[in-house]
Amino acid sequence: MAAGMGEGVHSERESGRAHLSKHLMQMKFMQRRQDNENKVEFEESQQRRIDETHWVIDVPELTAKQNRYSLEPSHIACECLKFGRMSFKGFNPAIEKIMKTYDTEQELELAEEREKEIAVSDDEMAKRYDSLIGTVGKKFVKKRHRSSADNEVEAKKSKLGFLKPSDD
């Protein structure tokens, strides 16, 4: 049984990948690998068969709209309420220290938000520079060579791709 399946896999591989010599395939380490592959495939097919026999109830999708809402049980988050302990004019220095830390935290958050609005995002920056490479490069090339320069860029790009070494 195992031998039969092994042949099946072998023939599949022949069509897909380069053919390895018979002697090579008979070597111990190649066999071991082949056995492992067979085992995995067999388990997968078994699993598939089990999954197919399982019963599944057809339920219409309910969860699609649910995650649009998030419930917020507390007023603190809704109204941005402050910490309830306060001290004024140095009545309780410990509490005033805590108040100060809360205030600076809030200020930092606000500043961060403002910065987000003003600053350019990383994606935008990358896009901008990506589009600039071609246009700035063109400036320094004479009109006659422009088309050839474009081709060169393309050629360079294609060169960068991964080259698979030949098997033999």
Binding site: K65, Q66, R68, Y69, S70, L71, E72, P73, S74, H75, I76, A77, C78, E79, C80, L81, K82, F83, G84, R85, M86, S87, F88, K89, G90, F91, N92, A94, I95, I98
Partner: protein, 233 residues
């Protein structure tokens, strides 16, 4: 902005505009609103409020406190039972407070808490099926303003007033603090504690807080000025 914002809503109202509109991809619903199948339904009477970017809640007048996780409250110790204290926080049920939930407390070193003490704590468990639990430390084990509170004067008021006082655009406490040194603890369960240098200061501050419930910004400023001038003369 959706309709009904800053308008009176009643329990059972369905906010069709909220669930239909494409303006808000994500909606955050605060207290007073709930989801029923696909609709946003009001479950408290009050005024519908909105805050950027997409937070909606109902501003209610209420005196009975319903515990919510994470809120700071003022409670009174009612009894000691083994390793927990029972604390009255104004809700339908007593809250429990473990004796280990204080700064620096260990099994050997128990905190000095007596029956009748006032406690400023944070709700750790608030769940409609379980009794609430409060703690007097934060996640790092420090008290950060929580714990037993001594001296001073505590009074009760409505939950709406308490929220107004700790809201970021209410300047009442700050204005009062410019003229007299004092310390306060505001519990979101409708209790406010005040400690000032003299009795007349305490009375003045507590009166100012009680009167401020329905006052606008301008009116509170005027009131504080009046109080301060009457204090000095």
């Amino acid at each position: 902005m959706a309709a009904h914002v800053n308008e009176v809503v009643l329990p059972g109202d369905i906010l069709q505009e909220l669930s239909d509109s494409e303006q808000y991809p994500k909606l955050r619903l605060g207290p007073g609103l709930r989801i029923d199948v696909d609709n946003v339904v009001v479950c408290k009477c009050g005024i519908l409020r909105f805050r950027e970017p997409s937070v909606f809640w109902v501003d209610t007048h209420q005196k009975r406190y319903v515990p919510v996780k994470g809120e700071n409250i003022l409670g009174i110790v009612i009894s000691k039972a083994g390793d927990v204290f029972k604390v009255d926080i104004g809700s339908s049920e007593m809250a429990t407070l473990s004796y280990l939930a204080f700064e620096g407390a260990t099994k050997r070193n128990r905190p000095n808490v007596q029956i009748g003490d006032l406690i400023y704590g944070k709700l750790l468990v608030a769940n409609k099926d379980m009794e609430p639990e409060i703690v007097c430390i934060d996640s790092t084990g420090r008290s950060s303003g929580l714990g037993v509170i001594s001296g001073g004067f505590m009074f009760k008021c409505s939950l709406g007033l308490v929220r107004k006082i700790v809201s970021p655009d209410c300047q009442l406490m700050k204005l009062l603090g410019k003229h007299m040194p004092y310390e306060t603890a505001v519990g979101l369960n409708g209790r406010i504690w005040i400690k000032a240098k003299t009795l007349s200061h305490t009375i003045a501050i507590s009166n100012a807080v009680c009167c401020a419930e329905y006052m606008s910004k301008k009116q509170t400023e005027v009131m504080v000025k009046q109080i301060v001038s009457s204090q000095w003369t």
